[in-house]
């Protein structure tokens, strides 16, 4: 095992390399492209024995990934944002084929207006499709999760594709020290893919995309996907435990940081959660009793784990780096559904929307969110959800609006 500086994209590529994937359908998109570039380079220099094919779109790419996985080979692919959404039809379809593979998504905000920087609306749009989801906070987790994801996807009681999610820029282009597992140890951990009856072959007709009418078989097949996803909780724990035994790093389904004696907790997903960790340390230095609860596994949703971790807390500040238009933070809603009506559920669940389109979340803002949550508990009154947006930012927007206004007037003058 060696320790090297790797970007999140580099770590994802190493994950695929160490998992000894057979087939990589690819299509470029910022900020993911570097993953495919790394793999292409290794295949070119014979450091990797795999086949990479560039497809004409993400829709075709995901179809190719599912079709290849249905032949029983190990498949890897990667995309981001608009690409993930362009392939959305096929995400639902290939999950229904029960053909396991691993797809890395590098989170990036969705158009319009278009951006390159990260938020989680892309990955959450794929929340209900049947892919399991692992969300990463560090580059190390990206690599480890890719290996774990193959075990999870290919497990006989799961057999569903898995998305490993990392944030654009904050992980994709950020180098951090990453332990590179020894190739042999990694290969041994991931093991050979036992495709069982997943063995689509030329001249041996198999139909994956069966049509079912009347609702009964449809209900059966779809609910079986849900049940298989739920099996993923137990399988994930087993696989993560085995990973920890072999490599010394435990990646819990829900990470709990300094939570045991905490009155308050932050709840959030993704790379910004490490900022919350730093804030927890600083708040504890200032006398607070606070921690962080951070789901790595979002699908299946570790409901019972959440309940156990949040039980008897005074309040939780839920920070969503996403927004469901007309509703609010997705994680906040999901958490509320887990806690509703349960004994000793925290009386206060504050909701913050922050980090949209890669907008930074400052340490001061994390301190302030803790304070708002404590005040809410003390006054027994939960405040309305809040967008993290400052007066300075509003001034910046007003400046842009003023420019737009002037230009529009000039344009109208030209037309007269």
């Amino acid at each position: 095992m060696s320790r090297a500086l790797l970007t999140g994209n580099g770590a994802a590529a190493w994950g695929a390399r160490l998992a000894q994937v057979d087939y990589i359908p690819a299509f470029p998109i910022t900020p993911q492209t570097e993953i495919i570039e790394n793999l292409a380079k290794w295949i070119d220099t014979d450091e990797m024995d795999s086949r990479l094919v560039t497809l004409e779109s993400e829709h075709s790419m995901i179809t190719a990934a599912g079709a290849a996985a249905a032949t029983g080979v190990r498949v890897f692919s990667a995309t981001s944002s608009q690409g993930l959404l362009y392939g959305m039809e096929m995400l639902y379809t290939v999950a229904g084929w029960r053909a396991p593979f691993v797809l890395v998504n590098v989170s990036r905000g969705l158009a319009a207006p278009i951006t390159l920087e990260s938020d989680h609306n892309d990955i959450l749009a794929a929340r209900d499709c049947g892919f399991l989801q692992i969300h990463c906070t560090t580059c190390q987790e990206v690599l480890d999760s890719t290996l774990i994801a193959y075990r999870l996807a290919e497990h006989h009681s799961v057999r569903l594709p898995v998305i490993v999610n990392l944030d654009g820029f904050y992980l994709s282009f950020t180098r951090e020290p990453v332990e590179l597992p020894d190739a042999e140890a990694a290969a041994k951990f991931v093991g050979n893919y036992d495709a069982e009856n997943v063995q689509f072959r030329a001249s041996a007709p198999t139909s994956q995309a069966v049509a079912v009418l009347g609702g009964t078989p449809y209900s059966y097949f779809r609910y079986e996907i849900h049940l298989a996803a739920q099996q993923g909780l137990k399988v994930y724990d087993e696989v993560a435990t085995e990973f920890a035994q072999q490599f010394g790093r435990k990646h819990e389904a829900v990470e709990a940081y300094r939570c045991d004696d905490a009155d308050y907790v932050f709840v959030m997903l993704g790379s910004f959660a490490s900022k919350a960790k730093a804030a927890v340390d600083q708040l504890r230095d200032a006398g607070w009793s606070i921690g962080l609860v951070r789901p790595r596994l979002l699908r299946p949703f570790p409901a019972e784990r959440f309940y156990q971790l949040l039980k008897s807390k005074k309040g939780a500040a839920v920070i969503d780096q996403n927004i469901s238009m007309g509703k609010g933070g997705v994680l906040h809603s999901e958490l509320a559904s887990v806690l509703y009506g349960k004994p000793d559920a925290p009386p206060v669940l504050t909701s913050f929307i922050g980090g949209l389109g890669g907008r930074d979340i400052s340490q001061e803002e994390l301190f302030e969110m803790a304070k708002v949550t404590r005040d809410a508990y003390e006054k027994s009154e939960t405040p309305a959800p809040r967008l993290l947006f400052t007066q300075d930012e509003m001034r910046e927007v007003h400046k842009l609006q003023a420019v737009a206004h002037v230009e529009r007037q000039e344009l109208e003058k030209d037309h007269e």
Partner: protein, 308 residues
């Protein structure tokens, strides 16, 4: 924790600079985080890259708000607000500028009281967007931190640039070593700032985002291309200059090929370059039939303008 920001233009190697420094610190036993930050990739546009280094695990992420050291590869960026060179600097932050203008001059221009250092790293190089600026900046940063020996710096350059061949490595090592030595009397001038206290911090100043009608809040631009108010000419590292004695006033070739419509033609058929918006892509230089458009390093053009 050390927090270092590199500011430069796309093409000047700021990402490479951050990686060289990151690698050197990693070799010295530091936990490291290094990253570039840019928009849609484009040569000449302001970009920055940053490095964090600490003896413990780093949980902080993203842009550096309160830098200990700011390295500026291109002094024309300092006065551009959008480049954010001075953002979050305080009394303890060290500002290093690649410039032939004196530190005192910069200190008074910028009204700074903290340490300012300058060094003309690239005086012998005409185009600012050539290699070595990045390596030289990394060399200066390594010296100012005072925790990186020269051998580590050389090794880091080899690690980061070896795929470009031995000659490139050697030249970059040489440039970095020159910068390192030139600034040696300031070795270790950079100090690590205290973390922000959760006791006593500046209120973020949130507001409730007001509802605005779609006529205002829809992201519509009522004009073609980029706003004229955005001076994209600031991205230029090379400047096309029309030699009107050779220009045969064909009136359309350069202006048609300009991808940004930054060449206007006057009523008498004379092309005029709009330097507020010319990004310096040099397509016009390649297209001009009588070769009447010359290429001049932007730095030189600015110096000429200052003199006249």
């Amino acid at each position: 924790m050390y927090r270092i920001r590199f500011h430069g233009r796309g093409g000047q190697g700021m990402k490479t600079a951050s990686r060289i420094l990151g690698s050197a610190l990693f070799q010295q036993g530091y936990e490291v985080q290094d990253a570039p930050r840019y928009g849609a990739e484009r040569r000449g546009a302001p970009i920055f890259a940053y490095v964090r280094a600490a003896k413990v695990l780093i949980n902080e992420r993203g842009i550096i708000r309160h830098p200990d050291l700011v390295i500026v590869a291109d002094d024309t960026l300092v006065p551009i607000p959008a480049a954010g060179v001075l953002a979050g600097m305080d009394q303890h932050s060290v500002l290093f500028i690649n410039s032939s203008t004196s530190a005192d001059e910069w200190r008074s221009r910028l009204n700074l009281t903290g340490p300012v250092l300058t060094l003309p790293l690239t005086a012998d190089i005409e185009d600012r967007a050539v290699p070595y600026v990045g390596a030289a900046c990394a060399g200066a940063a390594a010296c100012l931190l005072g925790v990186i020996p020269q051998q580590s710096l050389a090794k880091a350059i080899e690690d980061e640039l070896s795929e470009h061949g031995a000659e490139v490595v050697r030249k970059n090592q040489q440039k970095a070593a020159q910068a390192f030595e030139a600034i040696a009397k300031h070795t270790g001038i950079v100090s690590e700032a205290e973390d922000i206290s959760a006791h006593d911090y500046v209120d973020p100043g949130w507001l409730d985002l007001p509802f605005e009608q779609a006529s205002i809040s829809a992201p519509t631009i009522h004009a073609g291309l980029t706003s004229v108010e955005v001076k994209t000419g600031l991205w230029r590292t090379l400047r096309p200059v029309i030699d009107y004695e050779r220009c045969n006033k064909c009136w359309w070739v350069c202006s048609s090929f300009c991808p940004d419509g930054a060449i206007n033609v006057s009523n008498d058929g004379q092309p005029e370059i709009d330097y507020d918006h010319c990004k310096g892509c040099m397509v016009c230089v390649a297209q001009c039939p009588p070769h009447a458009i010359e290429t001049i390093p932007e730095q030189q053009a600015l110096q000429r303008e200052e003199q006249t």
